[in-house]
Symmetry: C2
Subunit: 314 residues, 2 copies
């Protein structure tokens, strides 16, 4: 087999280079592009890219030898727009974000139910006073998206004694879920949910799935998380729901526009928590492992993990 050239296009290039060289992958030459100029100079040599989607996209037209792009992120939607190339294999990273997303969701959820910020303020004032709270046990958790991330969050909810419902395109049963519904049943399921978590990808079907009508079906005490993609939520409708008491609280890690513009009214909403799209992070050790496994399959002509269907969009 002839040699293949891999070009690294990420903020963790040095780390990836070290991990991949240590793996002694056969027939693989590893190049790094740490700047835009370097990327432009080397892109024509690359058969394989290991890249952040936003760094790769403007270079694809020049990537004349490209056969495979391994995204270092889960979200690859910017590579799927109309007019984008589709004549290569695109794989994303899957299976490593579930534990991190669970940490994020349950960290923020328990910080709210256990009123951690309130007690911090009380401590500043040296006040010893307890406030009532409720356990997660017996509460209902609704998860939109029942893939590996949704399943991990479901299992964490189950561990904390929650009833876990899911919504997916197929409505297929999944481990960790008491019941999974199809998207058209969403309005019937929403009124039961104490906690709602969207891990949905960005597709035509998920765009503004959470609009004013959806929020009108939520419990006024419900806590809404978006850790999937910003496009699933109409943020104007969300803000209105939070302001008018149709929804209790929201925790958002993803937005329609990122970074969230400084003049967004979301920043100042008291019953809303904003984090800068970091609920899960692609730790280089995990991503490198995925690449190594996929490379072996690639040279053997086997199907790779995380292969994206350009039509479905995930």
């Amino acid at each position: 087999m002839s040699q293949r050239t891999l070009l690294l296009l990420s903020q963790d290039n040095a780390h990836y280079e070290r991990l991949l060289k240590a793996a002694h992958l056969p027939h693989l030459r590893i190049l790094r592009a740490d700047s835009e100029a370097e990327a432009k100079a080397k892109i024509g040599e690359a058969h394989i890219l290991m890249a952040e989607p936003a760094r790769a996209r403007p270079l694809l037209a020049q990537a004349s030898k490209l056969v495979w792009l391994q995204s270092t992120y889960a979200g690859v939607d910017i590579l799927l727009g109309p007019g984008e190339r589709r004549d290569y294999q695109l794989t994303n990273v899957r299976g490593i974000f579930g534990p991190l997303m669970s940490e994020y969701v349950f960290g923020h959820l328990l910080a709210l139910t256990r009123q951690i910020v309130h007690y911090r303020e009380q401590q500043r004032q040296k006040v010893w006073q307890s406030r009532p709270y409720e356990s997660l046990r017996g509460k209902t958790l609704l998860i939109l998206g029942t893939g590996s991330i949704g399943q991990h969050i479901a299992q964490t909810g189950h561990h904390f004694g929650m009833q876990v419902l899911g919504v997916s395109r197929s409505g297929r049963e999944r481990p960790g879920f008491t019941q999974v519904y199809q998207v058209p049943a969403l309005n019937k399921v929403l009124p039961q949910a104490d906690v709602i978590v969207s891990v949905l990808p960005s597709t035509r079907e998920t765009r503004h799935l959470f609009n004013a009508e959806r929020f009108s079906y939520c419990k006024p005490s419900a806590i809404f998380f978006n850790v999937g993609r910003g496009s699933a939520v109409d943020s104007t409708a969300l803000l209105t729901a939070l302001r008018t008491g149709k929804l209790g609280f929201a925790v958002l890690d993803v937005f329609e526009q990122e970074p969230l513009p400084a003049d967004s009214p979301l920043w100042g909403q008291p019953n809303l928590t904003i984090t800068p799209h970091n609920s899960a992070y692609s730790f280089p050790e995990d991503v490198a492992q995925i690449f190594i496994r996929n490379y072996i399959r690639f040279i053997d002509g086997q199907p790779m993990d995380g292969k994206i269907d350009f039509d479905k969009g995930y």
Copy 2:
């Protein structure tokens, strides 16, 4: 069988009365004492007390018919001091605190690792900026006390991919723990721990178990929780460890003196979180269920759940 009189001595009397009357327990007359005066007037009639330990203690000398006291709390140490009565059956509530303690520990732990307070501050300033963080996965959790609470916390740690070590008097294997050590091995285990959780009861052996020497064995980055009893920690030594970087952070729900006095230097320590002894709460539904089960055993002459050994102290 002759009738027995139960006297309720708690802040949730009305709630307990309703729940127990609805259970139609045979041969049981239920009285309430909502004030000190009422308690003094009725204590002589009571065969059974369902009580907060601190409310019951000053009345025990007058409780001439007492045969059984069901504590509504887990902690009964104030009923076990020298000179206290021992001629009755004392039971506490067990098994209901594990899930609540897990919520507290992991809520505070994830709030720290995911820097929730920091992002809240950033949101106020409309700043979109991510900071590195580490997953709980692969970290080592050390739990002091391997009873039902410790086991639940262990299982939660295991769910989040942590390695879970335990320390107990016996060192016996317990579900959820990778390995359990005896107390004399503590100094050898401490240097491995990223997170330390004490759920120890107050006994002679646990008094100031965490002193300056112990803290000198901790990782400088370690996070220390006390959700057991305040007496297990020498708070002066803890404060010194936090100030001199021998310990990274502490989260305390229990103290040697409660409420924590307003002049305690603990209040102002930045790498210390204080909560007012509410990591777990005796929800009346749960406690009533325990009483009902125990009452059936009591009238059948069977051993009751949560029976305290006056010599061991738990």
